[in-house]
């Protein structure tokens, strides 16, 4: 195996012909059937494996679907799956390997913001193309990345707005709780600016962070209990994956209930709920752009196809597997790329990039659209209530699609992102 990749590398550097390289690296594939390589850059081991393995699965499913229908531009897609093992430096290394050694046409990958920041220079220096499928804190506008997840205004703010509305319960006090890293910090900065702009007094906003893998929420839940004692208080939570179970358990055990103080979660989706005892979470809320419970023909097909795929491929969990927001974003990202390649009639990164602008796709959550110039995605916003079976009951959804704003108008009103009229991030004129 090592010999192959070595030879491949030597050939690649000598001949520098991508088509030839692709043909040589898979001796088992008949020459007649041309393939195009794509990279899948998700952690399959380490702490992030819990979330990222599902993204790899769903990308492979999309590839299989496309190949079954004849591939892209007559070529079968051949995915190169690498494991960056939840190690941020390894992400950059593997990205470099995918771009320079495997010469993939596009990469689907990353989950955490730090992993994305780590591969960003690799993609920018080598003019690669990355589809990033997770909701994130914004404040980024890279020429070489397409962001199919939500920007802050497509998730954070609608969630808070909902709780403030009469429909959502008219809450007046907000406890911002997060894990201590870049997404929650930036998210809470934006949320705080938003709440202040909406006239919430500063002493009705509390902010608190916990380390990664924090298990002991006694003190914090005690604080929330006092914070909410007058009524009208809610929690906006950006707590990351693993810490959620101890948090919700403690919350319920100390006698707090969703009727008195609901938790709006921004990082809890169906796939995480799969490994949780949901009894303590029932009735709490989450804001996303997709839920498995979305009622549409496309979504029904998507959910069934994924369950069938998981069972057929003998993935752990089999047909008990669920779909969630980042998985949907990863899935339609592959199709957006395929459509753009077909429009551009080429795999060339610059041609494909221009062809992505304005692409639409009938995704499981409804028809979504790529922005015409800012590399992000128009998506609907949904609020769901957690049910006992780990699914969500959708309690609110926006009428149409919400325009992505990589630079939040509450924290960076003077900045914009445009790759058509400007060179990425630019200063707006007053």
């Amino acid at each position: 195996m090592a010999e192959f990749s070595r030879r491949d590398f030597l050939k690649g550097s000598l001949v520098a012909g991508t088509a030839l390289g692709a043909g040589l690296s898979f001796p088992g594939v008949p020459r007649a059937q041309e393939t195009v390589k794509i990279g899948v850059l998700h952690s399959l081991s380490g702490t992030m494996a819990i979330s990222e393995v599902s993204l790899r699965d769903v990308v492979l499913m999309a590839v299989e679907e496309i190949n079954a229908k004849g591939g892209v531009l007559g070529k079968k897609i051949s995915p190169v799956v690498v494991d960056p093992a939840s190690n941020w430096d390894l992400f950059a290394e593997k990205a470099k390997q995918l771009l320079l050694q495997d010469r993939v046409a596009v990469v689907f990958g990353c989950w955490t913001s730090v992993s994305r920041k780590s591969v960003l220079p690799v993609f920018e220096n080598n003019n690669g193309l990355l589809f990033y499928p997770v909701q994130y804190e914004g404040e980024e506008c890279s020429k070489n990345v397409f962001y199919t997840g939500a920007t802050p205004n497509q998730q954070l703010i609608p969630g808070a707005e909902y709780l403030m509305s009469k429909e959502g319960g008219g809450y007046k006090k907000f406890y911002l709780l997060g894990t201590d890293y870049v997404f929650p910090r930036t998210a809470n900065k934006i949320l705080r600016a938003f709440l202040l702009a909406k006239g919430v007094p500063a002493d009705s906003i509390a902010e608190e962070y916990t380390p990664f893998n924090h298990q002991d929420y006694q003190t914090i839940v005690g604080k929330i209990k006092r914070f909410s004692s007058g009524g009208g208080a809610c929690v906006l939570s950006t707590i990351n994956g693993d810490s959620n179970v101890p948090f919700y358990k403690e919350f319920a055990n100390q006698g707090l209930r969703s009727e008195n103080a609901p938790i709006m979660a921004y990082s809890v989706a169906e796939d995480e709920l799969r490994g949780m005892d949901t009894s303590a979470l029932v009735g709490h809320l989450a804001a996303w752009n997709y839920f498995q419970s979305v009622e549409s023909e496309n979504n029904r097909k998507f959910v069934q196809a994924f369950k069938a795929f998981a069972k057929k491929s003998n993935l752990p969990g089999g047909d008990k597997r669920v779909t969630d927001d980042p998985m949907e974003a990863a899935y339609f990202g592959v199709y957006i790329w395929k459509q753009a390649v077909e429009k551009a009639k080429s795999f060339d990164v610059d041609a494909v990039r221009k062809a992505v602008y304005g692409q639409t796709f009938a995704a499981p959550s409804g028809t979504i659209k790529m922005h015409e110039y800012n590399h992000h995605t128009f998506r609907p916003v949904l609020i769901g209530e957690i049910l006992k079976d780990g699914q969500f009951r959708i309690v609110s959804r926006t009428k149409g699609l919400v325009e992505p704003e990589p630079w939040s108008k509450y924290t960076s009103p003077d900045k914009g992102c445009d790759w058509v009229k400007h060179q990425g991030t630019y200063q707006k004129k007053a």
Binding site: E208, T219, G222, G230, D242, V245, K249, G275
Partner: protein, 544 residues
Amino acid sequence: MVAWLAAGAAGHAALPPASPEIAGALTDLTGEDADKREAAVTVLGKTRDPRWLQFLHALREGSVYARTRAGKTEVVVGGAKATRGDQDVIDIASAYDRGPLGTVPLAELKEVPADRRLRLVIKPYLDADETRTQLADPDPAVRRGAAVKLGNQAEAGAAPVVEAALEREADRWVRHALREALALIRLANGNPAQRADAARTLGELHSESARPALERLVADTGASPAAREAAGQAIRRIDRWGLLTRTVETLFQGASLASILLLMALGLAVVFGLMGVINMAHGELMALGAYATFVVQNWFRAAWPERVDLYFVVALPVAFLVAAAVGLVLERGVIRLLYGRPLETLLLTWGASLIIQQGLRLWFGAANVDVSAPRWLSGGVPVMVGLTLPYNRVFIIGLATVSVGAMYWLLFRTSAGLRIRAVTQNRAMSSCLGVRAGLVDATTFAFGAGLAGLAGCALTQIGNVGPSLGQNYIVDSFMVVVTGGVGKLAGTILAAAGLGGLTKGIEPALGAVFGKVAILVAVILFLQRRPAGLFATRGRNAEA
């Protein structure tokens, strides 16, 4: 033909007490216009007819459906769902009198959705009815919840209901909540004398949730001076009580964290402290215990679904035995070949930890698994006003105490313990005196591993169960053992108590992130002063 007949009959049965208004409301309800749907709910709610209230309840639960039969839209209430062949079917009943309408495929029905807005409109109509039922509920927690809700709403009309409930109520905490609710209602709606009186009562009740209302009263220049004075006094009283509850709360939290740390470190204290093996796989042995709990839970779910709450009692010994067995294999298989070579054992056990971890990931999947809390470990016991002690934490404090007690008994009151201590102190001499050192090593290691499994089992009630569970706990375990002093159980116990108490003591002021930093700095400084930990063992272990 038959279907058509059935539809006709169904249409007839579903007719509510004939009123065009209600029929119109039902039609609006199935439409898209949110305002019309809201109005429709109001029409139904205002009838105050218990059957329509039941219907609204079903609507809120999401079990109301619409179906179109012979060009007419009909509203039905769904019951039990089932799968027949490849079809999902559902029992349906008429909207008003719940006359059964047979079983139909789910695909023929369209759910009448109740978004949060609609549910909020429904809520007041159901609440009055619901609160009355809740106040008569056999479960005190439900009665108490209803009382708190009435207090927060503070509506004048609820006062007689609360008074009536108070007369019947026997449970101490529910009575307390009812009195609080009554006082809150009077504080909001009574005359000046009543308000002053209510403020005094709230002070006596130490009602934290009345604080905002009392503050408003103090600031309200239109209120009577007597009432404002009483409110001020009540606030001071509540604050003093708040200080007391916070102190007790912090003490309990410290004790709880200490017991968790102790439980995690106990197995390591045996293996590392007594045997000198730096066991990096300690965390993974905990993970094995946690997964054993998961497996036992699934057995119970499959075999005795009605006794599922008892699974945890069985899981505790099973987790101990599974981890002990793996520990035994580890010790007999490889570690015994490397005694006295700490660096090699460290690498070896680290390798073992990676193997176990990846094995769990391959077998159970990378995602966390769901271990649900048995009912007797969910919720908490209210011990004083404003303080609820979660059962799971009380249980872990108990388990840690029992484990420590059992370990002391084993080490100092049994002959097996005597042999363990003998081998620890001088292996060569005890071998000469006829102690089978190898057997003692194996049992000690298995015992330590078993304790790790036990800790893993207990921790399923607090945190996650996933393949990387061990890594989350290993650092804390080592921190406790090293701070306590290697080889001394008393040191481990004291270190756990100290670190737990210190963490919870400084966390309210510093926050979780800086709290953790401060603790690590404190431990480093402490170990600089006393490298051997709290209790240094006096010279021995020549060969280690």
